[in-house]
Symmetry: C2
Subunit: 343 residues, 2 copies
DNA sequence: GTGAAAGCGCTAACAC
DNA sequence: GTGTTAGCGCTTTCAC
């Protein structure tokens, strides 16, 4: 036996008012000036009966569902997609919304189905995300609807974007080294992240490099070498090993992400060099690796939580001007960076 | 200007049939025997007009929304919550459902709000999850509704549970060592995971230990030592360091999760011992750490994807008998385990 | 201040 | 085989 849900009509009847009146009271509308007594009575009865509005019915009537859709290419694979969701959820919850979440695995067809499903369920808007920052082409079916682009940019698609401020992060990394007294033998490992699948590098690579170079140049410092390689543990390890084998003696390394930095540390330590005693290391992403490594890595954090949170806030707040919102990437100071004193 | 969505009425009008007929055709119901010609015409028109059913309206009428709610204590923090979601999403998508996903951060009040929000939106069922396996107490408001417990168990709550088969995983770990010829100087690091917050250890700890001990005993082998400590990198490192300092010479280590094993490896390597040359290491979880470590860790994987997938499948399939479904944990063979030859 | 009535888009008896 | 009709639970104009 399943007890029927109590409806607004039940509340109205029990309170001795019409359904309309009950609706006004529950909706908290003051323009219809209901007597305070009636108001209290209705509220009271609703409370007693455990009345909960049927949002499906309300949605049908008003076509607002207080539900928003979040679709992304990958949720599982990405390191901290969880944080993005977390941020989005917090923003949603704070505004009494809920999130329909799905991932397309990069499949256009799946993406289309997912979006249709969300639209069929009358979501109030869509957060269209990518798990690493890049230029995307959202389906035309989203044109004209409330959309916020999360961690991606789209040309000719009039929607706001929320992305990490990678350029500033690059400057932060270089500045952290400079502030610690480093000026010589600074090596950058990773570069633009050129691989067979990303022949032009990636957005984060270009911006991080640009920021690094800019900050160093401004201080009159030139990196000893910029090593272009894929952003993986293995490459970081191999490249630094080759470097050391070639007689180089780095005093500082900027690893373009945590995996590269982690690999670099392994190579340094294998060669008997101490981090940060002999070599300082600064990294990017602040993934779990940064704190699992020993020593723990100083890293510029990807602001996943803020990304998710901001995107949902913009959507719910209706701030849909096609503007790029750059979220700051904070420096997380840990053991791998040490001060150098010049002799 | 926002073009109105095309409704079933539009389709019916354009096709020259009644709304009911159109509804039957779209619903693919054969019991109302509509002429093939009419059927084709309706379908055709629907296609041309780009008709999409309004699931909110359908939901109001039928009270099935093809939407299910997934609520868990933590989504962000957990290593691979993403994989759980991924599995759930795949199952949902395969059945034309969508997922409302939220996390309570372990806050009862938030959890209640989330669940209410989902119920208000008329979800067809709830997946109630925990990010590490344990006994939970779902809110009474869920009683009598379609619920599946994901990665948790509840006493006196009539719902199916889907959990990893940790006991079998323990046996798998021990057996892997035995199969590689190990019989002596086997150390277990981690134990039940007793901490101030978990004075009785955790479910995974108890089951893994039980499985390990069972398999070893059956082979007539006794572990040299079982070290109880928190399952963290730092503890794994410290405990193994202390062990070595105390004159112990392990030939094999079972780390009770990847963090412990990772820390253990660091201590071993720091002491000049080679993994797996001198010491074999077997781990649990198969988190990112297992493949980032060098050597990469042989680890028994937490079946996150299958957990999520199975939970949603049970829910959609209506298989709601209060049964505990134990999902196998596969052995991922990597470099940290090597064969021992007896002399 | 309050109530009657219409209608959001859809499905499902039931009549023809 | 197809159309008529009622109604899911809610909001909202418009009379009173």
């Amino acid at each position: 036996m399943t007890t029927r849900r109590v409806t607004l009509a039940d509340v109205a009847r029990k309170a001795g008012v019409s359904r309309a009146t009950a609706s006004f009271v529950m909706g908290g509308r003051s323009d219809m000036r209901i007597s305070a007594a009636t108001q209290a009575r209705v509220l009271r009865v609703a409370q007693d009966l455990g009345y909960r509005p049927n949002l499906t019915a309300r949605g049908l009537r008003t076509s607002v569902t207080r539900t928003i859709g979040l679709v992304s290419d990958t949720i599982a694979t990405a390191q901290y997609a969880g944080e993005v969701i977390h941020g989005g959820l917090d923003a949603a919850l704070a505004n009494d919304h809920l999130l329909l979440i799905a991932e397309s695995a990069g499949d256009r067809h799946v993406e289309e189905r997912l979006l249709e499903g969300m639209l069929d369920r009358q979501v109030d808007g869509i957060v269209y995300g990518a798990m690493y920052t890049r230029v995307v082409e959202p389906p035309r079916s989203l044109l004209g609807r409330p959309v916020v682009l999360l961690n991606c940019l789209a040309e000719g698609f009039p929607a706001p974007s929320v992305i990490p401020d990678e350029e500033a992060a690059g400057r932060t990394a270089a500045q952290a080294l400079l502030d610690a007294g480093h000026r010589d033998a600074i090596y950058v490992v990773g570069g633009h992240h050129v691989t067979s699948r990303t022949p032009d590098g990636v957005f984060a690579g270009r911006e991080r490099m640009s920021g690094i170079e800019h900050a160093l140049r401004r201080a009159g410092v030139a990196p000893a070498r910029v090593i272009e390689c894929a952003w993986a543990v293995e490459q970081g390890y191999e490249e630094v090993r080759a470097l050391l084998a070639g007689g180089h003696r780095p005093q500082a390394i900027i690893g373009c992400n945590d995996r590269v930095s982690f690999g670099a540390c392994q190579a340094l330590q294998e060669a008997g060099l101490d981090v940060p005693g002999d070599v300082s290391v600064v990294s990017f992403d602040d993934s779990g690796l940064a704190s699992w490594a020993r020593p723990q890595l100083t890293s510029i954090a990807l602001p996943h939580y803020q990304l998710g949170r901001t995107a949902v806030e913009l959507l719910i707040g209706g701030r849909l001007e096609p503007v790029v919102h750059r979220i700051p990437m904070p420096l997380r100071v840990r053991a791998s960076l040490a001060r150098r004193t010049h002799r």
